[in-house]
């Protein structure tokens, strides 16, 4: 990766640094859904409508990994597992990776020769509008995910990356709105994702306040 600081020698992971040593494992885990999907394509076990399966599964994993990256902060604060933050970039980038596969499947495999239909769809279908918007918004986050960009952007980096709260909401809505209306059973799955999203967002609220209080304290002492 291009983010290693120019002055520093890349340090080998210390033996006791579990996070650094487990990163390849997490990387491999994140690739598993793709391996599994490729295997199903290879074996022809995606069922009668393999294109729909490709779309659903790449979309599912983009959303799941997005929510996983959002779960890091609550887990650090509530569970005290501060080191988890070092997995976050990987989870976020994999979410973007699966979102790209999802969009590519829709454009190239599903629409195929009718790919120009996507422009009409983005304008006309709210679920495609929000899905496409979520993907677009992920681009600047992926592009600024390096250490170099973090340093360059300073505190603006965090402000920019708070976009992920909106992105995850758009992604969950994208799923909710594409299922048939009035289908209580069919909306169950997207509603579960929305509930998880809501939970992860709620888990942030009290910590925000405390952080604000801590930040104010030095000023109060003057």
């Amino acid at each position: 990766m291009a983010h290693s600081a120019p002055a520093q020698q890349p340090r080998p992971a210390p033996r006791h640094d579990l996070v650094a040593r487990s990163k390849p494992l997490v990387f491999a885990l994140c690739l598993l859904p793709l391996v599994w999907l490729t295997w199903d394509v290879w074996q022809g076990t995606l069922g009668p409508d393999p294109v729909a399966q490709l779309e659903h599964r790449t979309g599912d994993w983009a959303l799941r990994l997005l929510l996983a990256s959002l779960a890091i902060t609550p887990l650090r604060r509530l569970g005290g597992w501060h080191k988890l933050v070092r997995y976050r970039r990987m989870l976020g980038l994999f979410a973007f990776f699966y979102a790209c596969l999802h969009l590519t499947t829709y454009l190239v495999v599903d629409l195929g020769g009718f790919w120009t239909q996507i422009f009409a769809e983005i304008v006309k279908r709210p679920y495609i509008t929000v899905g496409f918007a979520a993907w677009l918004l992920l681009i600047p986050l992926a592009a600024t995910s390096t250490h170099a960009m973090m340093r360059r952007l300073g505190r603006h980096w965090q402000r920019l990356h708070r976009l992920v709260y909106l992105i995850a909401l758009l992604a969950a809505l994208h799923f909710l709105w594409l299922v048939k209306s009035g289908q209580k059973i069919a909306v169950r799955e997207p509603l579960v994702y929305l509930a998880i999203y809501a939970g992860l967002m709620l888990a942030r609220v009290p910590w925000r306040r405390q952080a604000a209080r801590t930040a104010r304290r030095p000023a109060a002492m003057q």
Partner: protein, 330 residues
């Protein structure tokens, strides 16, 4: 009851098993070539896949029908396994594979149909009395789901008009209403209020009397499997699939336009007519094109085709709707 033992699929149509098995080989080639794959290559692959594809062995009691060639399409058939393993029949669950999984305990025999409403003859009739086994036809129809996928299916059955005329509908019979069986014990999907059970559908009487309107009792030369609407279902190839009501227990001639299940559930999405129309989109997706599930259940590329007005049956049925605004009467 006499039944022909010969399946109506011409031997020439059945791909030799060895060739059929090679479809995986073909897909592997395709998968290996993925990074280099150009669109043109995908199109070639499509043709190859379709040529090789064939129904995975149909099962069930054979049921013969004479091919009605003039009303049949010669497009590649959707495989038996896809026709019977991937469909919507919410009485057995909302997933596409639920009907096949959850309909095993359904008993379509014995079966009777109640004929009611504005007709000279009404009453309850055993299914066996509703058609002549020797008069069954096979028709290969395109099937277009409102969800924008489609199939090509060889149905076995008889014209709906033949049945309706026997009951001598009166002048007040302006519409025909159909009802599906309600039996939550055997139809587990009915335990959920997904739709207002029982499922109901309806047609204007001239639509119902149209020669293309078909009552199927079989598919692929076999009795209808439970998941496909056994033992008696409607097939209306110019309308979205949900109009083709399954497991029919009641047919009523009415004066008023009947209320139908999907129209009631979401009137802005599913109209009473629901004729296949590429120019009128579903509120949430385009109806301009469709993904054809035919022949190559394994193919990934080139399955999307343009949707035709009235699903390609405009020549036969468009006159039924002359003077009507099809955007309003969707």
């Amino acid at each position: 009851m006499t039944r022909h033992r010969i399946p109506p699929i011409a031997p020439s149509e059945i791909t030799p098993e060895a060739l059929y098995r090679r479809r995986r080989e073909f897909l592997r080639t395709l998968a290996l070539g993925l990074p280099l794959l150009a669109v043109g290559c995908g199109r070639e692959g499509e043709a190859e896949a379709r040529a090789e594809a064939a129904p995975a062995v149909p099962t069930g009691t054979p049921l013969a029908g004479t091919r009605n060639a003039s009303l049949s399409t010669d497009e590649p058939l959707t495989a038996w396994s896809d026709v019977t393993g991937y469909n919507n029949f919410y009485e057995f669950g909302t997933g596409k594979d639920d009907p096949a999984k959850n309909s095993r305990h359904f008993h379509p025999k014995p079966w009777s149909v109640e004929i009611a409403g504005h007709a000279e003859v009404t009453g309850r009739y055993a299914l066996e009395d509703l058609y002549q086994p020797t008069a069954l036809e096979e028709r290969i129809y395109r099937h277009r789901c409102v969800e924008a996928w489609s199939m090509v299916i060889p149905w076995v059955g008889f014209p709906l008009a033949d049945l309706l005329k026997r009951f001598k509908p009166t002048a007040q019979a302006k519409y025909v209403a159909f009802t599906t069986l309600r039996r939550p014990g055997e139809m587990p999907g009915q335990n959920y209020a997904v739709l207002d059970w029982p499922y109901r559908e309806g047609l204007r009487i001239d639509e119902a009397m149209h020669p293309l309107a078909f009552l199927a009792v079989g598919v692929y030369g076999r009795e209808l499997p439970n998941q496909n609407g056994a033992p008696l279902r409607l097939v209306l190839p110019w309308k979205y699939g949900f109009k083709s009501i399954k497991s029919i227990v009641r047919i009523e001639f009415t004066e008023q336009q009947p209320r139908t299940a999907w129209n009631q559930a979401a009137p802005e999405e599913y109209g009473f007519y629901s004729n296949v129309n590429p120019d009128v989109d579903h509120p949430r997706w385009s109806q301009a094109t469709e993904r054809r599930i035919a022949g190559n259940g394994f193919g990934l590329f080139g399955n999307r085709i343009r949707t035709r007005p009235f699903n390609g049956y405009a020549e036969q049925v468009a006159s039924l709707y002359s003077g009507m605004d099809l955007r309003k009467n969707f």
